[in-house]
Amino acid sequence: MKAHRKKKLITILTALVLLSSAVGLLLFAIGDYADAFYEPTKVVNGEAPLNKTVRVGGLVVDGSVNRSSDSLYVEFDITDNQESITITFDKSLPDLFREGQGIMAEGKLIDNKTLKATKVLAKHDEQYMPPEIADTLKKSHQDGVNKMKDQQSKEKGDY
Amino acid sequence: MNWQEFFNMGNHGLYVWWSYGVTFVAIILLLLAFSWYKKKLLAKVKSHAKDKTPKARKVVTEQITE
């Protein structure tokens, strides 16, 4: 490589390294502020501001969904597998909403355990499969669980 | 599966067909923009070819008369 080209290449590479580290530092400084939502643990720890519009996200806790019989009002818990908070909502939920599903809710925190949501969005995970396979997976999972239970009760019986 | 069902796509047809449709149209539009630009460039290259030396001009006129 000719000397002047080498020099130019080195200049460009140096500039790129400097620029990337600058942007890297900037991103590091932004950190959590670029998060689209707070996890329940952060809300419970009081890291999310009360009475201001915030977004929280987590998985809908199995069996926590309480629908009102005469209106759209619904209450459910979301969790990040450590802490959980309650969401209240009075509009229609997205199609993908179901127990165990990841969701993101926007609204105001009444206290560090409850969010009054004005918007609920379903968060999709990265799994894509046809319904038959999902059913089989669910079934084989259930079979496995039952088998384990049988095993356990058998073991209990043995002893 | 009948056509009705196929186009409806379980009530998601609107989103699916708009996605595919707009993608197709956008690609065609850019290709059309390219061909429109090509016409302009052809004229530009030809105009440059004309104001050349007499020899070059001769070559060009010969080809035009062909």
């Binding site: 991103l27 999709h124 046809p130 059913d135 | 379980g10 989103y15 708009w18 707009v22 690609i27 923009a33």
Partner: protein
């Protein structure tokens, strides 16, 4: 070894010649079109008919087969543009700057397709067409970078100034690419995490059409860049005799 580097050198040299490229690419294009048409015909048949619905999203999962390839190419295209910028600046290769300029509109098109189909996909699955999360915002920034590049390049009368200024923008903007890619990992976003590179995340009967469509989109991208690059050559070599002879 010496032989290999020699033949690479020759290939690099040929690729650097507008005349060689203009004449050769005319022969490549029909074949590329045939390959693309075959891939996209198969891909569309699979993605619209022959692939199963998703267990959660139903039919709207079919948007994935154009959204994901478009997203991949929007990023790969920008990286290619940045590489062309470096080669152009260091080796003063004319063709490299021409290729850089040719990629921009095609990359912008694929970025637009990615954003548009993503929004349409978001309505039934998430319940919203837009959310200012890290992934969506950085992809929107990518569209503005492409458009900014085109605007900057066309704002100069002096072509070599235009090339150099736009090349710097292409290079600086390339920092956005790892941010787009990493956004779903570094921050929590409404957008889901990686599926394509994660083993077993996509069922095989959905992966096949997806890969066919990705291959088809790569070829389509290449075709459109080649077409635009031939126009760029026409524009810049309008005064050269070889081109005038080829055209008339």
């Amino acid at each position: 070894m010496a032989n290999a580097s020699k033949s690479f050198g020759r290939w690099f040299h040929q690729l650097g010649s507008p005349k060689w490229f203009y004449q050769k690419s005319a022969k490549w294009l029909p074949w590329l079109w045939i390959a693309t048409a075959v891939l996209l015909a198969f891909g569309l048949y699979y993605s619209l008919f022959a692939s199963p619905v998703d267990y959660q999203q139903g039919n709207s999962v079919r948007i994935m087969y154009i959204h994901v390839p478009a997203a991949a190419l929007s990023m790969v295209g920008y990286l290619a543009m940045a590489i062309c910028a470096v080669i152009g600046m260091v080796w003063k290769m004319k063709m490299s700057f021409m290729a850089m300029r040719a990629i921009a509109p095609v990359g912008a098109l694929f970025t637009f397709i990615c954003l548009f189909t993503g929004s349409l996909w978001g309505i039934p699955t998430w319940g919203t067409w837009w959310e200012w999360d890290a992934r969506m915002t950085s992809e929107l920034v990518l569209l503005f970078l492409y458009l900014g590049f085109i605007a900057l390049h066309s704002s100069f009368n002096d072509r070599s100034k235009a090339d150099n200024a736009a090349a710097i923008l292409a290079l600086v903007g390339a920092i956005n690419i790892p941010i787009i890619y990493g956004s779903v990992k570094w921050w929590n976003t409404l957008h889901q995490a990686y599926s394509v590179t994660k083993k077993g995340a996509i069922a095989p009967e959905m992966q096949t059409p997806l890969f066919i469509m990705i291959a088809g989109f790569y070829l389509l991208f290449a075709i459109m860049v080649i077409i635009r690059l031939r126009l760029e050559i026409m524009n810049r070599e309008a005064k050269s005799k070889w081109l005038q002879e080829v055209i008339s």
